[in-house]
Amino acid sequence: MAGIQIHNIHKSFGTLRLFEGLSLACPDREYMCLLGPSGCGKTTLMRIIAGLAEPESGDVVIGSERVNGLPPARRNVGLAFQNYALYPHLSVAGNLAFPLRAPIRRGSYGEVEIEDRVKRVAALLKIDSLLHRQVNQLSGGQQQRVALGRALIRDPRVLLLDEPVTHLDARLRYEMRAEIKLLHDRIGTTTIHVTHDQQEALAMGDVIAVMRKGRLEQLGAPLELYDKPSTAFVAGFIGDPPMSLVHARFAEENGRGVMNLAGALLPLPDALAAQARVAPSPELLVGLRPQQVALAEGTADGAVAATVQSHGMVGREQQLMLTLGPDEVRCRTPCTIHVTAGDRVGLAVSLIGAKLFDAESGRALPPAW
């Protein structure tokens, strides 16, 4: 088992500069999720760790060994590809045994040991009854397990998973998530799991690295990212539902802090006001959870005017998407309330527990003390 350290790497694709001094560390035995929208660089980073791509500068360290320039074969990593990439001309057993038969390892594994390992890994992943099947006869879920088995069979020091459950249907996805987690608990290999699905990352990662356009937005435990997002992007990406971000302007009124939200003046709790006072600019983004937004009764004072964009069910509640000026706001209401797209409504917004971000940079305002 080994930790991974990325120091200050640079990587460009033609004129596109992806990584400019990216650094990241994953401690030994940790399960880290690389999370971000497509194009953020998460897959490229994984390939750099595997050795399928090289950075132009910077260090890639696995364990205590600098691996820049080492071919993938010598890095002792296991990689489970997004579309499985199983060897079509081999059976399941053949696929699992293939890594052990590599000439680089000749002499390390005798036939008996190879067979033994194949059986053990197959039992671990519950595919022992499939060992003699051809891979194109397997279902998606079964192929996924074979891909995992192939990655694990050499006891790699690092396991790389590229969107392992994205292509499975809903029920299977939940099952595989729990199984992968349990597998990790058992074996303890340092794991990097790449995904664009924040629900998956939250559920599976010990630690999550949120990436965007080649930069690391935030690194932390799932609930830390949820409760204390360090940028507006993270706030708007993590969580189900994520925070709604609304432009607002901070002002002082009678010695108390207020936020001007699309014309409505809302009182700001003292702690947040203290943050806002020392902020570089009064133009802020307010991060709101759906619990903080409700449909106002009639035209109550301080209600914020918004227009309904769409509505749909989420579990037993109804979720409304509303536009507030240039921003979108999410609100949850009981399904007894009926609205249609285009309706103008008033929102009662509570700023207790809201998060404040600088509108320009997106960075969260630091705590006031």
Binding site: A178, A203, G239, S310, H311
Partner: protein, 366 residues
């Protein structure tokens, strides 16, 4: 805006496959109906019969009181959106959208105005001069939607239109589909296998399996009053817990070593169906995990924690198998801890061996 009726519709393919069996379904005027089910359940065949792309083997297909079984597709005044966009690759986006109007020989000025309007609605005005291959998946699907709505049809038929798109795009586009439906007031029939999608866009959901309609109703109906195990397992964001259980004398219910508390009405119902092995279905939202307290709780040990934000799913090993519970994040026990799982029995379902919901009709609070 039409009301669509499927009256005892059957579809059997020439090789003998019975794709749709005795379907009785009514889609109300201006309703958004989702037909939901796994692959092979007959939902696509149903839609294709409605579109006129497949002949109806038996039964009556009625739209606004008129039987349309023998009406060719072009005479049915409906627009269809396919999973693989089906755009004309040799035409520009503008021409793709204009196609249905061109086919009906509308005047040029009218076509131009309409296409611009549609492009504006779907935010694809900047792409009008491009060809489909220059667009991303999400943009292409918008073009397909544009082509569908440009004629202001009375009916929309959509066959898994968002299947190929990335998760966040699906979320965005389905809100748009719903918006379009409301703005145009058309009756929409939407096929999907993704229950999250169905719950986000539809007024009612028709769940199908093996060619048969399992249940028709709003989301709450399906969640709280599933008619059988299939529907209970298919609907719901988090997979429902299914545990082997035993009905004893007098209608008592036992899971593992724990006897679960039941209301008298429920016990009467269970006792009427006889003692024997059954399956208990309970949603993770209805399972609570508190510390040991005595009383009728199922003991277990936490093995996996899956944070979701405000709440966390905990998966525990019990005598009866794995159980998931949804608990507030601040009350989460640590991994490996022993917990007592309590079920909100007024929301629990009990399924017989053939899958029927024995407690149907006594469903939980709505």
């Amino acid at each position: 805006m039409p009301r669509i009726e499927f009256n005892c519709i059957c579809k059997t393919y020439p090789d003998g496959t019975r794709a749709v069996i005795d379907l009785d379904l009514t889609v109300a005027d201006r309703e958004f109906l989702c037909v939901l089910g796994p692959s092979g359940c007959g939902k696509s065949s149903t839609l294709r019969m409605l579109a006129g792309l497949e002949p109806v083997t038996s039964g009556d297909l009625v739209v606004d009181g008129k039987r349309i079984n023998d009406l060719p597709p072009q005479a049915r005044d409906m627009a269809m959106v396919f999973e693989n966009y089906a755009l004309y690759p040799h035409l520009r986006v503008f021409d793709n959208i204009a196609m249905p109007l061109l086919a009906r020989r509308r005047p040029r000025t009218e076509i131009r105005e309409r296409v611009l309007q549609v492009a504006e609605t779907l935010q694809i005005t900047e792409h009008l001069r491009k060809r489909p291959q220059a667009l991303s998946g999400g943009q292409r699907q918008r073009v397909a939607l544009g082509r569908a709505i440009v004629r202001s049809p009375k009916m929309f038929l959509m066959d898994e239109p968002l299947g190929h798109l990335e998760a966040y795009l699906r979320v965005q586009l389905r809100a748009e589909v719903r918006r379009l439906h409301e703005r145009l007031g058309a009756t929409t029939v939407y096929i999907t296998h993704d229950q999250e999608e169905a719950e986000a866009v539809s007024d009612r959901i028709a769940v199908m399996n093996g060619g048969r309609l399992q249940q028709l109703g709003g989301l709450i109906d399906l969640l709280d009053r599933p008619v059988n195990r299939f529907v209970a397992e298919f609907i719901g964001r988090l997979p429902i817990n299914v545990l082997p259980a035993f009905v004893g004398a007098g209608g008592s219910l036992r899971v593992g070593e724990t006897t679960l508390p039941l209301s008298p009405a429920r016990m009467a119902r269970l006792s009427a169906s006889g003692a024997g092995p059954v399956t208990l279905g309970i949603r993770p939202e209805d399972v609570s995990a508190a510390d040991a307290d005595g009383g009728q709780a199922l003991p277990g040990r936490v093995v996996v924690l899956e944070p979701q934000g405000d709440r966390t799913v905990i998966i525990a090993h019990t005598m009866a198998g794995r159980v998931s519970a949804l608990v507030p994040s601040r009350l989460v026990p640590s991994a490996g801890a022993a917990v007592e799982l309590r079920f909100a029995m007024d929301r629990a379902h009990v399924f017989s061996a053939d899958g029927a919901n024995l407690l149907h009709g006594l469903g939980g609070s709505g």
